[in-house]
Symmetry: C2
Subunit: 681 residues, 2 copies
Amino acid sequence: MIAKMVLERVMQVAAHLTNSAVKVAHPFDPLNEAEIAKAVSIVRKEHQELFFNAVTLWEPRKAEMMAWLAAPETAMRPHRVADVVCIGKGSKVYDGVVDLTENKIISWELTDGVQPLISMEDLQIVETVVRKDPKVIEQCGIIGIPPEDMHKVYCDPWTVGYDERFGNKVRLQQALMYYRPHIDDSQYTYPLDFCPIFNADTHEIIHIDIPKVRRPLNTAPPSNYHAAAIQAEGGFRTDLKPISITQPEGVSFKVTGREISWVNWKLHVGFNYREGIVLNNITFTDKGVERPVFWRMSLAEMVVPYGNPEHPHQRKHAFDLGEYGGGYMTNSLALGCDCKGAIHYMDADFVNRAGNPTSIKKAICIHEEDAGILFKHTDFRDDSVTVTRARKLIVSHVFTAANYEYCVYWQFHLDGTIQLEIKLTGILNTYAMNPGEDTLGWGTEVYPGVNAHNHQHLFCLRLDPNVDGPNNTILQVDAERGEGEVGSATNPYGNAFYAKKTKLETPETSKCDYNGSTSRTWDIANESKLNPYSKKPVSYKLVSREVPSLLPREGSLVWKRAGFARHAVHVTKYSDAQIHPAGRHVPQTSGEPSAGLPAWIEEDPKANIVNTDVVLWHTFGLTHFPAPEDYPVMPAEPMTVMLRPRNFFERNPCLDIPPSYSSSPSGKGTVKAADSTSKLV
Amino acid sequence: MIAKMVLERVMQVAAHLTNSAVKVAHPFDPLNEAEIAKAVSIVRKEHQELFFNAVTLWEPRKAEMMAWLAAPETAMRPHRVADVVCIGKGSKVYDGVVDLTENKIISWELTDGVQPLISMEDLQIVETVVRKDPKVIEQCGIIGIPPEDMHKVYCDPWTVGYDERFGNKVRLQQALMYYRPHIDDSQYTYPLDFCPIFNADTHEIIHIDIPKVRRPLNTAPPSNYHAAAIQAEGGFRTDLKPISITQPEGVSFKVTGREISWVNWKLHVGFNYREGIVLNNITFTDKGVERPVFWRMSLAEMVVPYGNPEHPHQRKHAFDLGEYGGGYMTNSLALGCDCKGAIHYMDADFVNRAGNPTSIKKAICIHEEDAGILFKHTDFRDDSVTVTRARKLIVSHVFTAANYEYCVYWQFHLDGTIQLEIKLTGILNTYAMNPGEDTLGWGTEVYPGVNAHNHQHLFCLRLDPNVDGPNNTILQVDAERGEGEVGSATNPYGNAFYAKKTKLETPETSKCDYNGSTSRTWDIANESKLNPYSKKPVSYKLVSREVPSLLPREGSLVWKRAGFARHAVHVTKYSDAQIHPAGRHVPQTSGEPSAGLPAWIEEDPKANIVNTDVVLWHTFGLTHFPAPEDYPVMPAEPMTVMLRPRNFFERNPCLDIPPSYSSSPSGKGTVKAADSTSKLV
């Protein structure tokens, strides 16, 4: 009955939203609200009793898309196709593909033994159930929370990760429990010591993990950071003068649909519920020629393993993208956008559980920023000088994974560099501790009674390169000493060094770890095209310096489930189906066998990955040992990965950027920009 | 006679500049023009026939200075003292110390077998001499430059490094030779293949190194970047709209003399001819208490080894600070300052060769910059959010080392982090190559006929910590797996990990290399003071991720001369005399024995460095394999080192920064900054 009503409503929405939007969508565009409604209505015709987990763009196949881009007038325009995930009673999961151009279901499968990600709606349900559960109320009583205070009990529901006692036939969440003395108090100061397990199918608490040593409710005063709290303890500083950043003449980029052009860059900005921002068909115009650089680029997965060995903390290793969705958790920047200047926003459209389209307004922020010196040189003989100022284009979003915030900035520089910067902020995941309890080194007491456990943030960057075409080769590059000891004929002074390049030839031998002492980087090269001056292949270099080892041991649950994180680099032959390196459905995977990247490599370990269409999977991140200054809210910690053109251009590609000041030895041709003079104080 | 005239002029200058400036100088202030003139006049009374290489502040001894700072009213004010280096005929070097408060020479020594750094004046002389030298004219003829074109011949004079054929009794420079078809053409496109050796004492060319294989003058067209050249090839882009950064209400920092206070930070900005910026007595006010953090911080040395083993390229390994002076080479930012907003400048005063005070106007730039998100958190339940914007205070200078530019930014963040960012720009050092010549992997043909050799930039950061007092301990910190295999009692799930801390106990055992796979960092801890919550010592953590190995081999010339670069970290017990880790006078040191850091460690290898006054020497940098996009001028390549408070504060120390937006679950106390809303486009 409910399903029927939902279906009718969806059909209304679909009817209201004109089909014209569908017709003009770029093949890379995310599904819009009308398309989502249409997909739902097509599914509903055949399958009524289902909840929707995801309706997202089934991306055009690469060959088809490349053909269309090459000849949009003559080649077949890729169909608009929806990738659908539905959940039925009994934790049944259906994977479907729906052709929106032809209005039909292409495939529909009941997929056994998997659990799709936990949506925001799934999360919201748990707290209500937990508060009413008698066994939870009992446990709260044991640690000092009376039944009448259950409205002060909160939980951050996490996927259960994988718990061998419960397997993956039933859809589960674990509820990390907290308490708020007052609705405005941060609950992370009051973690509770037990952990209920929630059955998402029946909406029941099926188990509670209770530690051997109990930890009563924290008695420390609240530690808050919101405005009222700061006002109460003396207020905000008044000595900071405004820094105004404005673009009185507007921005320098153009947006056509979701295609952006800025200086020499062009790219398409996509977005989906899993990866968040997806950048497609990135090109750089070099002396009038539009040269492809990357076909697709995204943060494809991440894992946050925690380092406390005590049960059940091993379950804390969130795959924030695969288990919750970086898109679903994206902040609306309508309030609290924190980019200055002139901003272009894009919304993000999704399906909700009931099958209705929903939208996060201002999900993506696109803007320019000043970036200091681009280049400078002074001739010491005569002080003639050229100094040119840099700027960058930033495509960003911020997502909130329960306690943590991830701020993701895709940055395009004038010199051809692409930089992914991530800032980690938000609040530490916390656990209860008794007064005087030893953290045993697995965490830090960041505030009385608050134990913040050691953890890693490991991101998997999926790079589908297109460096002057799809046929690329990946080489590991190490700075190495030349052969021969001091005094030898080849190295008489011992000063020789060079870039040692190791070609990655097959998926099984492509697994590389990081080596800081050789300043290891990776070249993404097109061996069929040499730079006319250097005679080296045109390439982009992956420069990444925050590359910790995966600290959970070989054979551990995290190691098994997060196969992508075992090495800094893996390379695979391109396949349309391989997007998610920890698997299509991540929650409750056991890792036996490991889904995603390890499975793909095992399928064809000796495939040729030289001078062919390849994908580079790069895992980077950081290891976080918390400290009190991270609490009650963490100052942002930045992390960065760069892709730099090497032997790609014939020369510095940004010499035509107007200088702030340029004079020559002869004194001829001096140029001084209007805004080059800074105001003195 | 000349000396007498110089002396008279100096006395006039000294008389003109009132003594009041001397009296009010802060003990950390660099010598001003009056003090320099005074020092020269005192020296001249006893030593006439000398040229001046340096007159700089002989910094107050630490014990004396700490006593005075603690009780400025009662303790003795440290004298103003000048550290003087003079050069006499026959490459004789004199080191002197002159007390300006008592108007007397304290010490005066003839130092044998050393050569002080090469000043800008020393450099300027060489080109004139080279152009007139018959043997140079002959060599130019051989590679295709007729005698009438000698005015088109240029040279970048470098110190000779060390050449065993010439030793260090005679002051030498090597002339890296170039040619300019037109005065405005970049000479780096036309490197000449031979290398004259210049005797700075006699102003003669004493030798020319001529390669076995000759390389005639490059015939490629010029490759230029100055405004006239870009105009000629089509002009500058016109599609970039201005980004205006203004501070309509002025800056948020206060400058008193050379002391700066900004938000919770206080520091003194010094400057000298060697290190450039020196930051002293850095403190952070925490809940009303001014807590010391660092006593002194500077870039103390650097070395740029080149990796081509062919003679005489092994001599190319410039110690840009110790051999030329980061202060002496500093740009005047009067033109071509490239910081935006409201700027406070400081000048830099030096002595010239003749003994007159000289000044670089606007040598140091001090300004604030916006720095994106400081912290943010959204409650997923109700979308209540707090987002606060960051800014930083930047003290910067730019210096030009012949072809290269180093942009040095000392940055202070609101959260207590100190960040040193360096941007490398300028022009590659280039060498001639014949058409079709193989670079053998030691360099890259970045433009026809232009070989840019592989090189490293290795900087030595000298950190004199004062973390809640001078008695500090350095610990190496590695992210390590917990003991026990998967399934063991201690690590049942294999997920345990922790921060393994290794205390550095003596100078000889303090030598640490970098380890990227354990995300190695170093704690600068005060073991006598524990954080009340975490019970861990208050500390600052050195986070540095660009830490290549020194690639010249053990026993090589660079390895011997640049002892500081052998390891990422060395720790010594504090000594007033130990500032320059490659020695006081660097040019023409043989490295036998190694001066500076290796010598100091050898003097007392087993000294206690635990919980005492220590200095941490950190070498970081990058290895540069050139590419055509680095030419004819390099887009700036950034590098960064961070010092982050860990267990230093009881909580996030920047909660009192006004938020852009803050709302609470209850809806009470919503705050919205005037500038939080970005303009839509």
